[in-house]
Point group: C2
Chain length 413, copies 2
């Protein structure tokens, strides 16, 4: 279960009601017209689970994910959160960046005879991904004509050049719907196929996302609309949205959020104005010792969303030891780290509120597949709503094209 | 060698010359009056290396660092950068956060008989650090009266409660100078002692820092003053400073930078005004697929510093394989990932410049101890200069105190 609490000031007015109902209508239209497809993934992706029932992966011990951006961030987010709570989950290696050191180190860890390879690219021609694919084929001596074909899973758009490659070699192929963008694709084949094979309960993740999505479209999640409206209204003043997550295992989720938020909303709007909100991911309590000072005393250009996990399920008591010199910390003896980290979050939120910085909180009763699915749907719906209010195309990324053109030219294409 | 290039527009005027010379004078005074001590660490910390010559740590295989914020970020930054290039370096485990899952997982990895423990806290009473210390003592059954005393290294301020603990049990103790703040302490005993024992060449790191520091105080690094002035001048408009590092191993350095920058400059100035600059750390090429869109088309409230490594020293060629369907990527075959990632940085910087976003670049000819030392000194000096221009106390963090008071109250102290 997810509990949402808001502490920022939001009083609705007839004017704002209009903004919110317009956004709600627009998002409904995106869904119903099937112009945007991610809303339907929680049910649509069940078909992939059916297909996987007929592929024997019991002998597999290792998954190698070759993908970057929307083709890896969501997978990592779920993997990091659920791994500590899942038994018998397979090892996952990630080959993302064009960093020669990282690639070398990861190549050394691949055990081909126990591995499956997932090549993930929506367009099919992502330069990091195709270059790493070639490197893996050469390094692991992958025989695309023979038995190794069964190790290769291609996840891409129907009709892409990578799909052509998959069909030519008769590899496993799963498609991303045309109307689902990379950063909204974690619940498509992109995330569902490798994570299910790895041993995660994707059906429950989809169910969690479905429940929240349905509830939202049935008008029962007004808080999401209100938050979107608050963020939109205050976008000029509070241009930075901090996601302050109180658990180390949430770090990859914050990275997924940064892509979703930054790339969806950082746009030129229909009137030619540059708009957008800047996402920042922090981890508590660590970043209380780093970024917090700036939130409290720096310019009031931020608001903060806290995420906490009520029950870590694996707790640890602080021993009842009194150490010479530091007896003044004895008051904490016998309490648990689970309680400490949550108390730290509460205290930080209170001190941030005292500094008149807007905050809200998402509390997970525990880390579970359903909760993660719901959280993914929550952030995606919030992004879509703010995108409508900003009057931008939430789903494209025209700004990154020029860099690619320059790169290809510089590399002699 | 570090090469600094700037692409932002900065034309000096007599007015600005005054701002810069005032900042330079103020920083010189901080150093000469010994009010601020980090400037002298590159020479002062050599004494720790002398002491370590007489402590036999050859049998040690593992270091356990117990510390958070300024007591771990700098150590991790250096460890991550140099580990791939250093042979026979010892394993380092970090116990930082109050996250019960992470603490449990890390405890399981400790092999006491092969380990040294470093308890690092400037104040000596950091709640995460003392709580974890107690947990480690109980879990590893550390005998503070017997032989285990030789495994315990305490790094703290002279006269702190933790120093009292160290002296009571006759543990190894190293002190942080009073006039060196936590986030400026990486080149004090905080970083020097554990990293030297781990097997890193701290003498060369100190030398790199010393060379840059001396050169700066001899007036030969005008670019640092100019950059500080540019950042100060444009602070309202460009309130976000992005550090875009093109190497996975630079991620921990960006986290160290975020603390240094955010906590030093996010302050109420002498006139009662909230000032500060918001630091964001990105990793290329990964974040081209995430945050770049926002930089290019979003609000022009950012500037970007790129860091590149000219020669990764361990390179990898993209194999000359033509894959059916994706032949259009063949143009890159035979080139290297080292070249690709640097070409990606160049292309991104060009596209960011085209969008009229101010940029500059720090280019390391390679990852070396000297270069890392110089980079640390560079960011610290830059921070001090901007702090003077902002008219804040760069070295305190009053904003985080309230949270501590609330926490202690809530935990029943």
């Amino acid at each position: 279960m997810l509990e949402f609490s808001k502490y920022f000031n939001f009083d609705t007015t007839p004017e704002l009601e209009k903004v919110m109902s317009h956004a709600m209508d627009a998002v409904k239209k995106e869904k119903e017209s099937q112009r945007i497809g991610y809303y339907d993934l929680p049910t649509d992706s069940l078909k992939h689970l059916k297909v996987l029932e007929n592929i024997d992966t019991k002998h597999v011990k290792q998954l190698v994910i070759i993908g970057i951006g929307g083709s890896s961030l969501g997978i990592k987010a779920i993997d990091s959160l659920l791994r500590p709570y899942t038994s018998d989950v397979k090892e996952i290696l990630y080959l993302e960046n064009s960093d020669p050191l990282t690639i070398s180190n990861t190549l050394h860890k691949i055990k081909k005879e126990e591995a499956l390879f997932f090549v993930i690219s929506k367009s099919g021609s992502t330069i990091e991904t195709t270059s790493i694919l070639k490197t893996v084929i050469a390094y692991c001596k992958i025989d695309l004509e023979g038995k190794d074909r069964e190790r290769m899973f291609i996840i891409t758009d129907q009709g892409s050049v990578l799909s052509d490659f998959a069909q030519h070699h008769k590899l496993y192929e799963f498609n991303i719907p045309d109307n689902v963008g990379g950063r909204f694709s974690v619940l498509s084949a992109v995330g569902v196929v490798p994570l299910q094979i790895a041993g995660y309960d994707m059906k429950s993740i989809l169910k969690g996302a479905d429940t929240l999505t349905q509830s939202f479209f049935n008008g029962k999640e007004a808080h999401i609309l209100e938050k979107a409206c608050y963020l939109y209204l205050n976008a000029e003043k509070e241009s930075i949205n901090v996601l302050f997550s109180y658990a180390d295992s949430l770090e990859d989720l914050t990275k997924w959020y940064v892509q979703l938020w930054g790339e969806s909303l950082g746009k030129i709007d229909s009137k030619g104005k540059r708009v957008g909100l800047t996402p920042i991911g922090l981890i508590g309590a660590v970043d209380q010792h780093s970024f917090l000072q700036l939130i409290i005393e720096g310019p009031q250009n931020k608001n903060v969303t806290f995420i906490t996990i009520k029950d870590f399920q694996k707790d640890l008591a602080i021993p009842d030891i009194s150490l010479h010199g530091i007896e003044k910390t004895d008051f904490i003896n016998g309490q648990s780290f689970n309680r400490l980290i949550n108390a730290q979050c509460d205290a930080t939120m209170q001190s941030v509120n005292e500094a008149n910085v807007g905050t809200d909180m998402i509390n997970l009763d525990k880390v579970s597949a359903e909760n993660i699915g719901a959280m993914i749907a929550y952030f995606e719906l919030l992004t879509s709503l703010v995108g409508v209010m900003f009057d931008v195309n939430t789903y494209d990324q025209p700004g990154v094209e020029l860099g690619k053109v320059i790169l290809y030219k510089n590399l002699g294409k």
